[in-house]
């Protein structure tokens, strides 16, 4: 087990694991930068030959195109490798996040909001991927590009280099200014847009009130107002979007004009800095137009990196959540006479609040007991302790003589069948509901479990029987509860835990459920919870 996980750690490991890929990527990035510099230099030579009325040398022409093509191929290779590399990293990150999720303590597990978790696993990890595919690496490439162009210009036209060194920071600041404002208005726009689109479902939901109070026209005006809000936010984005490129291109033209003018100067000192041949002039114009694009990209990359950092921070927060204790993997001895035992157990979900205070109880093998008591007395808490979700603060919780937290997953599957208060549907077929995707449970086992609960007929009447894909309205509430019992019974567990399973059922369904339980409980230790005296079976253990 790695002791300190973080996004950086995972990235480092991925780079190490895929050494060839990483090296190839590095080579492609550098190669693309270097080879992009050469074509204008060759072009300059070619043009200078032409001005001197020399025939163009075929080798030169081919070399020029060859270099253009090579640059293109290198860029293509860089992008491909980057895609693969980015995906490797997201895969590794998600794997490690899932690993962590499996180790979370039950408390943290309960605290995770499913929607938020999905956005952590999917959205935030994607921003980290962007950090590579359109952040750091392209930023490096762009910075190299700017530098190398500056060097190339230094060789051909020193004066221009100085002009550019002065100009580029200003340009960069302008770029950032525009991008920041654009981002702000985009966010404002998104908010306004979501308000406007939220208005539609709200209308559908409140349609009765709208009609009753004759507010159709009012609602229409309201909608128009929301759209207008998003419209004016968008207008701002449009302004910045429309103004940026023209400004850059005008600037581009001015720089070209200045260089041209100065190279035409009659002053020898100016000429020393700016003087150039026609070929060089073409190359310089080419370089100038090349240097403005990376500046713009640089600004976008900074933005990507910023949002990626926010995502990374959230992922690292997740990594720092509390973990459960790993099971000591002790083997339970089912010959031990006591199926479940609480020895002087004191427990509360946090330090300050004690729910169980020095509770002891014993449940023998094959016995049927009902834990009874008022709401909040700690009946469900005892279940959670028995299931090994929590560790007691004081005392011992034993299953077959072994602390419940020390049972491994494989053991748990054989020991516990847990019927929850409400059914948790998993995505998949009816069979999957019963097996929880456990391939060790055979089709015959599934069928037997269904028959035991009296659901077999209902299931066999479905279009694809056990392979019918489950939807929320496939079964009635009582039938779901029966399915829940089938799920608990399928792995042939030794202990059945029933958590207030008839609470939400009508009398007739309740009878069906209780009959099913009767059949399933044979030869098993059964522990149930009930608020109502009529549902009590076997020995009653009062919890107060």
């Amino acid at each position: 087990m790695k002791n300190k996980e973080s996004v950086l750690q995972v990235i480092k490991e991925t780079v190490r694991k895929h050494g060839v890929l990483s090296a190839g990527l590095f080579a492609a990035v550098c190669g693309a930068v270097i080879f992009a510099l050469l074509p204008p230099l060759i072009l300059a030579q070619l043009i200078d030959r032409l001005t001197k009325n020399h025939t163009l040398w075929t080798g030169g022409i081919l070399l020029y195109f060859g270099l253009l093509a090579l640059t293109g191929f290198l860029e293509s290779a860089r992008e491909s490798l980057l895609t693969v590399f980015g995906q490797r990293i997201t895969h590794a990150l998600r794997s490690s996040l899932m690993e962590k999720f499996g180790r979370l303590s039950a408390n943290e597990l309960n605290r995770q909001e499913p929607g938020a978790l999905v956005s952590r696993f999917v959205g935030d990890v994607d921003t980290v991927e962007n950090l590579f595919t359109s952040g750091i690496i392209s930023m490096f490439a762009d910075a190299c590009k700017i530098l190398s162009i500056l060097v190339a210009i230094w060789v051909t036209n020193r004066g221009l280099t100085i002009v550019l060194i002065v100009l580029l920071p200003v340009l960069f600041l302008f770029t950032r200014y525009v991008q920041k404002n654009m981002l702000a208005s985009q966010i404002a726009n998104r908010r306004a847009v979501s308000r406007a689109s939220g208005h539609v479902p709200e209308t559908l939901h409140n349609i009765r009130t709208i009609h009753c109070l004759q507010k159709e026209t009012y609602m229409e005006q309201q909608y128009a107002r929301y759209i207008d809000d998003s419209y004016s936010a968008m207008e701002k984005t449009n302004f910045y979007d429309a103004v940026y490129s023209p400004v850059i291109l005008i600037l581009n033209a001015i720089v070209v004009a200045v260089v041209m003018l100065l190279s035409a100067s009659e002053n020898p000192t100016v000429l020393k800095l700016f003087g150039m041949s026609a070929g060089t002039a073409v190359a310089v114009i080419n370089y100038i137009s090349q240097i403005f694009t990376p500046v713009e990209s640089l600004g976008m990359e900074i933005q990507t990196i910023q949002s990626a950092f926010a995502g990374m921070e959230r992922i690292n927060e997740f990594y720092s959540l509390k973990e459960k204790k790993g099971p000591a993997a002790l083997t339970a001895n089912t010959d031990y006479g006591m199926a479940a035992e609480l020895k002087n157990v004191t427990f509360g979900y946090d330090e300050s609040q004690v729910i169980l205070n020095d509770v002891s109880l014993q449940i023998k093998k094959g016995e049927r007991v009902t834990l009874s008591g008022r709401t909040g007395a700690g009946k469900s808490t005892i279940f959670k302790l028995l299931l090994g979700l929590y560790e007691p603060q004081k005392g011992k919780v034993l299953i077959w003589g072994v602390p419940s937290v020390d049972l491994t997953d494989a053991k748990k599957r054989k020991v516990f069948g847990y019927v929850e208060q409400s059914f948790h549907m998993v995505p998949g077929s009816v069979k999957d509901q019963i097996t929880l995707y456990d391939s060790k449970i055979s089709n015959a086992d599934v069928k037997r479990a269904a028959e035991l609960t009296g659901l077999a007929k209902t299931i066999e009447a479905l279009p694809y029987q056990y392979d019918t894909i489950c939807t929320q309205d496939l079964f009635s509430q009582g039938q779901w509860q029966l399915l829940s019992i089938a799920r608990a019974a399928a792995a042939e567990p030794e202990i059945l835990l029933l958590d207030e399973i008839t609470a939400n059922l009508d009398a007739e369904t309740e009878k069906m459920v209780l009959n099913a339980l009767q059949r399933v409980s044979k030869n098993r230790t059964v522990i149930s919870i009930s608020h109502r005296t009529m549902a009590e079976t076997g020995r009653v253990i009062p919890i107060s």
Partner: protein, 579 residues
Amino acid sequence: MKDETFRPNRVLSYFQEEWKILFFVTVSGLIYNLGLLAGPWFEGKMTGKLVDLLGGTGTFHQMLMLVTAYVVSIGIVQVSRYFKRFYVRRFANNVNRHMKQILYGTLVRKSRLELEAEGTGNVLTKAILDVDDCVEGMRKFTTEIFDTGVALLAYACMLLWYDWKLALLCMIFPPVSYVIAEKMKVIVQKTGAAYKVQSGALSAATLDRAANAITYRVFGCEEDRKAAYEKNLSAYENAAVRANIWNTAMPPIYRIISMASILFILYFGGRNVLHEGWTPWTIAVFTTFLSCYTKLATKSSSAAKLFNAVHKAQVSWKRIKPLLQNSEAEPELPAAAPAKLSVDHLHFAYPNGKEIIHDLSFEAAPGQIIGVTGPVACGKSTLGKTFLCESPYEGSITFGGKELGKMEKTDRNCIIGYLGHDPELFHGSVEDNIRLGGKQGAEEIIRIVCFEEETKAMEDGIHTLVGTSGVRLSGGQAQRLALARTLYHKRPVLVLDDPFSALDKKTEAQIFANVKELARDSIVILISHRLYLFDQMDQVIWMDEGHTKVGTHEELLAEVPSYAELCRDQTKGGSNDEK
């Protein structure tokens, strides 16, 4: 501003309506795209002038003139580019808003039943989302007509003018790259679709793992699930690489193919300069031709975008077209005058359902308050909804002698005020939620529903936003706000379904007294399962499994044992209920 000839289901109508903006776009678009030629032309001229200068035939002054003209023309071109971009987007915004409003107008006037049946509500909601795609396509079409169509044509003409043979030779390659891109599109779409499927599967798997975490842990399935998730991740990775690699790796390749023409330009162009080729060239023409071609090659790669945009827009347009119809705006009518309400042998059942109301008759005069109660699921809420005539009833309900079910919807809405279980609040302030555009102030009503103190304590008083569907309010607050809204829009018949269920007894009694005072000339039908106010009712309707009994509180106490029992239970256990 509505013009008579506007037909919402014709695309052309939208273009026509925005003709002023489009005219502006056309002018600036033409200037910009034709002006693009100025760049290469001037660059060539300047290089030529530099050669002259170095050869001693040009002057600094000539260069200055050239350079100034260059900057000015680029300036003009770029400023028109700004206008073009800005106004194309404004055009798109206007059309977007217009279409959405038309769709929304249709949606808000559909009846509840229509919206629920066949998912019409969903269809309209989706259509509103489709508008974005459709308008985006219209915008791109408008943009690309200039940026691709006009610009390509201009560049091509310029090349042809300088040397038509060489130009034709060069123009072989861009179409080649375009054809390859078009062929690749099939793969791109296929892998893209596969990627979408995998990314959906991954989200679903993550959600399942998160939502059923405890179940998996308790059943000892966590290791299994982790392995399954790993499989999801691998499938996702493969699909993502396959889908993205085509998008990222191919554009440089297309560029290389288009740039192959450079070979011809350098070779034949070079001969031209040396006066050995088809057309005698200067070095200036040579550089112009070269940079002009480079620009054409870049532009031609976006020709595909034009077709994609149009295609996408067509698909969404087809979906929304049948839904775009003008709807008539109707004015808000004032509440009807007070009159007598009489219900005579009323029967009600939902289509294909069992009878919920069986033979109910009663009469009510303005100022009366009628309580309706019964055990859980006895149909008291259905009785309330019957007055809305959403589904047909049997028997008769008349107001002022007129049959409710036979009235126009607008007339009925002037008579019946209804407040259901769901407060149906709107995003907006407390005040907005009550007035919904009404002119009168809301303060008085807020006092009546005992909501004054709490609103004062809110951060912006009555202007505090309540959030979507009122999420920021507690249940009791939402209930009182909804009641205030109903009372603000007072009608001669007010049907209130359990308006006090989330309130404590004292507040309930206070509000009840206020409502009684306010609704002196209205008939109030109060549906409730709490009975301690029922001794103040003028009549009580008891409902049980469709059967009804009407009488005064005392009569029912004497005649209906279950009613008496319910009353007794509540007054005895009442003290526990107090908050």
